[in-house]
Amino acid sequence: MTNNAFILQSSPHFKDKDSVPKIMYAVIASLVPAVAASLYFFRFRALVLLVSCVATCLVTEALFLWLRRKPLHSLFDGSAVITGLLLAMTLPPSLSVELAIIGAVMAIAIGKQVFGGLGYNIFNPALVGRAFLQTAFPVAMTTWIPPATLKIQTATFATPLGNLRFEDAIARGTLTPLKDLFTGNVGGCLGETSSFALILGGLYLLSRRVIDWRIPLGILLSLTAFTGAFWLANPEKYASPLFHILAGGLLIGAFFMATDMVTSPITPLGTWIYALGIGIVIGLIRLFGGFAEGVMYSILFMNAFVPLLNRYTRPRILGEGRKA
């Protein structure tokens, strides 16, 4: 061994084995139960949408990396795959492939790459893609089909939240049973229907410490408090907090969307404010807004505050403010 072969670097010389691709692939692994559930409930439609979204995201990412003269290795960091998966999971099963592809291009192009790629985007890319579709193609984005397991033929079909909000479900006694919300045997976006599969994936992410536990907890707490207050005051009119937690996109939002590291705060206090804020805004939209569901907009809304939250919630440094 010759002397000048030693590595020269600044300390520390020990490093944890976790890395960006490992984190990304852990997120992908955590989505396996929800993807499986979507395939089970929506069969071929799920497969088509999942494949087209993931493929489009990868192609768009590669195109932009090439345009920006960036090394192509970051195509394999897993982040574009996650965006594709999450976007597909938030689409109605009946959506056409063309629209899914448009959404996926928007997610990567406008949601991520125009900001500078991985790490620099302000808004959750998958939700940017979805928000674009929701605005441009509102009818297609709110047309629902029943899961294959229900074996019913119907022209119009409502999601549990739509049913609650626009069909007067509580008074008519047609509120979706919690059991169906838990297993996923209901209408809705591809990946949001099975609470059980989402909780499984979320627990995996928590146990691997990939996501910040404060975010799902904060969202659940504030949503429970908000919807719980109205429910206690008038259970004839308002659904229970448990219904709100299990229905719609709340769990996929709380475990997989709001927890996106890039678009959530880095300070502990900022994270709490962000998470509690999301829960409140969801409650506001669901109870008083023009939509039945509010998870997407509330996350995007709070994403916008993240830079400010980071700036104004700097933790107190050890010894700061103590007199010398």
Binding site: M1, I7, L8, P12, M261, V262, I317
Partner: protein
């Protein structure tokens, strides 16, 4: 008994079993020593010898020039062959006295102290510590006499003896605690007298239970007010400000010193050096180091003379393995990489480590995961600081506390994007110092 700790921090792999059970062996003095005149935090010492001079073991060869400086002594008897710049493990060459060893170890004759060491006044203790060139032996090498001189308006209540040794791989402090607990406690008592502290707390991590037991037993025979505390094994438990917080729940003010909260912290090795300096007038010319890591054939703890080339120490431990590609002085978290085995052991050398390092992984953009924030023992926001420094926004970096960074490396350890965060902290600190010098000039 409950273990104490501080918030945040990390748990790197320890690898202490490589050397923990290896008793301290003495390395025979080399044929030639290179003794740098700067082995401490502060100004270099002024050379007192020149080429051709005969020197004796323990003879002062460099005089500390200011308060923040320390004297340097010969670690062998022999002949000075040069006083010139030489490579230093700190990275930059410094004025160094090279001495050929005559193999006699003829001591520098000074009348032996006969007085009871515990009857010395605080000033006499400080004087002897300064004369012996004692510096902090945990790694930072801050002149010990300065740490024993609290300002008059800051009464010292507690002396903490730091036996955490929280860096992975190092076990030299642990061996000292097992093999010389009395000397450490006697040195602690002298430091207590010098600082006027009322109590002594010895802090030991719970991966060193044996040392903890020995100290609990030995401290009984001392009549000072003392306590041996068990701390959770966590890095950086031994960082001064975190240790003070863990033991006393006191926060050293930003930009302040432990003096400000009535505390002085001394490392166990330093305590032993204080005892030897005051009781025997022995200058700091040798120390115990861990030579360890998976790249060392026979990892050991060894007592070496200051100025011994790394090469001699490594060869005494069976040499380097074939696949070694990183050589570090100090611990793996805060140590300094070396490019050569020719550099000398200095007073602040706690270990010589070598291993086969994985190639540095690709650096990814920050994905804002916040792990650096969640693990920083100073509760800084490292990724934000690095960004401010990168974009040269020094006022923001200063406001967000870049100067409070202790460079422990927790942030970079946990960073999944492999961003050299500590490097950016250092750049930031240096730039702020440069800006301030420019302003005042």
């Amino acid at each position: 008994m409950s273990t104490k700790t501080f918030p945040h921090g990390i748990h790197p792999p320890e690898f202490k079993d490589l050397t923990a059970d290896k008793g301290i062996e003495s390395l025979s003095p080399p044929e030639k020593v290179m003794i740098p005149l700067l082995q401490h935090f502060g100004k270099p010492a002024k050379p007192l010898v020149q080429k051709g001079d005969e020197v004796l073991l323990g003879q002062k060869i460099g005089e500390g020039q200011t308060l923040f400086s320390a004297s340097v002594h010969s670690s062998v008897s022999g002949k000075v062959i040069s006083v010139d710049n030489y490579d230093h493990p700190g990275g930059t060459p410094v004025p160094t006295v090279s001495i050929t060893n005559d193999g006699q170890d003829n001591p520098f004759s000074e009348k032996k102290e006969t007085k009871d060491p515990f009857s010395f006044s605080p000033e006499e203790i400080r004087q002897k510590v300064r004369e012996a060139g004692v510096v902090g032996m945990g790694g930072a090498a801050f002149p010990t006499a300065v740490k024993l001189s609290p300002p008059k308006d800051k009464p010292i209540e507690i002396l903490i003896i730091n036996g955490c040794e929280c860096e992975p791989l190092l076990t030299s402090d642990y061996r000292l605690m097992l093999e010389a607990p009395e000397d450490i406690l006697k040195g602690a008592e002298l430091a207590r007298i010098a600082t006027g502290a009322k109590r002594i707390i010895v802090g030991i991590e719970d991966n060193k239970k044996k040392a903890h037991e020995i100290f609990r037993e030995k401290i009984q025979s001392f009549d000072f007010d003392g306590e041996v505390a068990l701390l959770k094994t966590k890095y950086p438990q031994g960082a001064e400000k975190n240790l003070i917080y863990a033991l006393l729940r006191r926060q050293v003010p930003t930009g302040g010193l432990p003096f400000d909260v009535g505390v002085v912290v001394q490392n166990v090795g330093t305590a032993k050096a204080i005892w030897e300096a005051v009781s025997e007038g022995k200058p700091l010319y040798e120390r115990v180091i861990s030579v360890s890591g998976q790249g060392i054939n026979e990892p050991k703890n060894i007592l070496v003379r200051i100025g011994t080339p790394f090469k001699n120490a490594v060869e005494f431990c069976g040499g380097l393995k074939e696949d070694v590609d990183i050589l570090v002085m100090g611990g793996p978290m805060m140590g300094i990489v070396q490019w050569s085995l020719d550099v000398p052991v200095v007073k602040g050398t706690s270990g010589i480590l070598a291993w086969a390092a994985p190639r540095p992984g690709l650096e990814y953009p920050c994905i804002r995961c916040g792990r650096c924030v969640d693990n920083c023992p100073m509760t800084l926001v490292p990724t934000q600081l690095a960004r401010y420094v990168k974009f040269d926004d020094m006022s923001a970096a200063e406001k967000w506390g870049v100067q409070d960074c202790v460079e422990c490396g927790c942030c970079q350890y946990v960073c999944p994007s492999k961003i050299p965060l500590v490097h950016w902290m250092r750049v930031g600190k240096n730039r702020i110092i440069a800006l301030k010098q420019k302003k005042s000039a």
